[in-house]
């Protein structure tokens, strides 16, 4: 099974970049040729381009949530999102992008797309290349969750 782990976020916008911090950390632990680790400051169509051709995609990202505790980590299947923000106003959401691609007969969409999300009540709009304490503390938890996800997949496939 070919898997891509994608850290999504903008490292010059403080906590928004947490996904990339997590994927950088994961590079230390994962040396499996069937697992690709990459990063992106993008959403929607571009994000879809990056995950096409893999059986599974694990997206590491900040998730804006009013109701969850700031800084907790959750595993969320993509179908649980009604819509996903794209990274910018000039793009469609990943869910829309997937829907369009399906309509066009695209057959390389990963069968499973999982978000490992760091829940945040607010994200600063100030340029900053450091994470806040609460969000930095989420990294080891997200790393473990992602490693468990990969281990489980390997058990199932073997």
């Amino acid at each position: 099974m070919k898997t891509i782990i994608l850290g999504v976020g903008n490292q010059i916008l403080g906590d928004d970049g947490v996904g990339v911090h997590i994927s950088n950390e994961l590079k230390k632990y994962i040396k499996n040729p069937n697992v690709t680790i990459d990063e992106a400051v993008t959403g929607g169509m571009n994000l879809l381009d990056l995950i096409l051709g893999y059986d599974k995609a694990i997206i590491l990202d900040a998730v804006k949530s009013e109701k969850d505790k700031h800084g907790i980590v959750q595993r969320i299947p993509i179908n649980d999102f009604k819509a996903m923000h794209s990274c910018n106003p000039h793009d469609v959401s990943l869910i829309e992008a997937i829907e369009i691609a399906k309509k066009m007969g695209e057959n390389r969409i990963p069968k499973e797309i999982i978000i490992i999300g760091v829940m945040m009540k607010h994200i600063s709009l100030e340029f900053n290349d450091k994470l806040s304490k609460k969000i930095a503390a989420a990294i080891p938890i997200a790393v473990k969750m992602t490693l468990d996800e990969i281990k489980n997949d390997m058990k199932i496939s073997s």
Binding site: D16, A40, M84, H85, C87, P89, H90, V92, L125, E126
Partner: protein
């Protein structure tokens, strides 16, 4: 006074919020757009290595990484007092055409186009690219996806990665092209030219042949007589990558033409208390409030601004379309906001034709792609981002670190005009306090035409493009709320 708030705007992240103020008859008195501005860039940049700026600034905005990358690179050329070899300039420009191909395609088919192709009063669930595909056919959808991807691929071949280009260096680029890459790009570019022609034909058939749409396009609420600004080459033709900044007046006559190094002599910024956005205006004309006309220094940038600020396109097919554009819409300048969409497609055709010229230029495979840099100093760089003129300005320390940084981004240049367009559209469509989703979409259309981009590097999940409309009575008491996707 009643207040209607649209918050945030559908299809635009970054929590934009439109507030519409009604008078006691329920007609629109005023409207303002509030958007969060990313803050603190100057402080963030200070003390960093100058040559990191093209990479750092390409992350400012998920929308225009390529535009920021090259505005920064060009500012560094100037700051290090170096002129890149001509092959490097051509490689940069070719990559830039790839960016315009994917960006303009995305806007027309996914974001702005649905209003026309599907219809301005279609339900929001249909008024998107899926609706476009349903109306125009799956084959059209396939074409769109294919050519948008070609634009991305051209950019990626030249820039390393489409979304984070790494090729721009002061004095040149880090990577040339080999013969295989040239052949790949040639094939893609030929196909893109046909796609651009097809898109203009589609616009003709669906929009221009529909009297109803043409009436909307030409109507007063969508008309704004501002100055126009854009980069031009030595023949005053539109150029995306380089040239002088030309400003024309409401009738299309040249008002001024200047080098980017003089931008601060020509442009000043006005501050309002209700927003972080600064409103640029022509210094010599002055700030006269949110007004159009000759006496007000507000100007527009982006596809329509560029076409109005120039005297034609530098490639044959696009130039023919340029002439037809002005013949159809009643001569210069075209001041109708919704003409941005048509202008965008003419630019798409230009980008594809220009890409063909560049990829067939024998110099494009040259390996002389960088010149040595001089002593660090101060420099300004300008490019045309897809949505308008973009300026980077850096002052370096003698060790090549950033001492001061200033950016004027495209959407900021358009900020004054966008505010007025929203106000005028609201005045035109909201009467006696009657508001529904179709009316609000007519207001948003005024805004979407500019293809604006706000606080756009944030991209947290999940969202859902919520739309909230709050209507208050004149005592500012909430009496009605309309929502969508919340």
């Amino acid at each position: 006074m009643k207040t209607i708030t649209i918050d945030p705007i559908t299809r635009l992240e970054g929590h934009g919020k439109i507030s519409i103020f009604l008078d006691n008859k329920g007609d629109v008195e005023n409207a303002v757009l509030q958007i969060p501005e990313l803050r603190g860039f100057e402080r963030f940049a200070q003390g960093r290595r100058a040559e990191d700026m093209p990479q750092i600034t390409s992350r400012i905005c998920g929308v225009c990484p390529v535009a920021h990358h090259f505005a920064a690179t060009k500012a560094l050329d100037a700051a290090f007092n170096v002129d890149p070899p001509s092959a490097a300039k051509k490689l940069r420009e070719l990559m830039y055409m790839g960016y315009f191909i994917y960006d303009h395609t995305l806007h027309f088919y996914y974001l702005g186009g649905p209003d026309f192709v599907v219809g301005p009063d279609a339900p929001p669930a249909k008024r998107n690219v899926i609706g476009v595909i349903e109306k125009a056919g799956v084959e059209v959808g396939k074409k769109v996806i294919k050519h948008r991807a070609y634009g991305q691929k051209i950019t990626a071949i030249l820039g390393g990665k489409a979304t984070h280009p790494v090729c721009g260096l002061p004095g040149g680029v880090s990577k040339g092209l080999n013969k295989d890459e040239v052949n790949d790009i040639k094939k893609m570019v030929d196909s893109c030219i046909e796609f651009a022609k097809f898109s203009l034909k589609l616009f003709d058939d669906i929009v221009l042949k529909n009297k109803n749409y043409v009436d909307i396009i030409l109507s007063d609420p969508y008309t704004l007589k501002t100055y126009n600004m854009g980069l031009v080459d030595k023949n005053n033709k539109v150029n995306f990558y380089d040239g002088k900044i030309r400003v024309t007046d409401q009738k299309g006559n040249e008002y001024t033409k200047f080098d980017v190094k003089d931008y601060y002599k020509k442009i000043a910024e006005h501050v309002e208390q209700w927003t972080y956005i600064k409103f640029p205006y022509l210094k010599a004309v002055g700030w006269k409030g949110f007004k159009d006309g000759k006496e007000s220094g507000i100007y527009r940038v982006g596809p329509l601004g560029r076409l109005n600020a120039a005297e034609g396109m530098a490639t044959p097919l696009a130039d023919k379309e340029y002439k037809r554009f002005y013949e159809t819409l009643g001569g210069k300048a075209v001041n109708t906001t919704l003409a941005f969409h048509w202008a965008r497609l003419i630019e798409l055709l230009y980008a594809t034709e220009r890409a063909k010229e560049l990829i067939n230029d024998p110099e494009i495979t040259s390996q002389k792609i960088r010149n040595p840099v001089g002593e660090p100093g101060e420099g300004m760089g300008v490019t045309e981002a897809a949505r308008g003129t973009l300026i980077h300005h850096y002052k370096l320390t003698k060790n090549g670190l950033i001492d001061k940084a200033n950016l004027i981004v495209a959407t900021t240049n358009n900020a004054g005009a966008i505010n007025m367009s929203i106000r005028d559209a609201a005045k035109g469509v909201i009467k006696k306090g009657k508001v529904d989703n179709a009316t609000l979409n007519m207001v948003e259309m005024a805004f979407r035409a500019y293809d604006p981009c706000f606080a756009c590097a944030t991209h947290t999940l999940p969202g859902g493009m919520p739309l909230e409309v709050k209507i208050y009575d004149y005592n500012k008491k909430l009496y009605k709320t309309l929502t969508q996707n919340i």
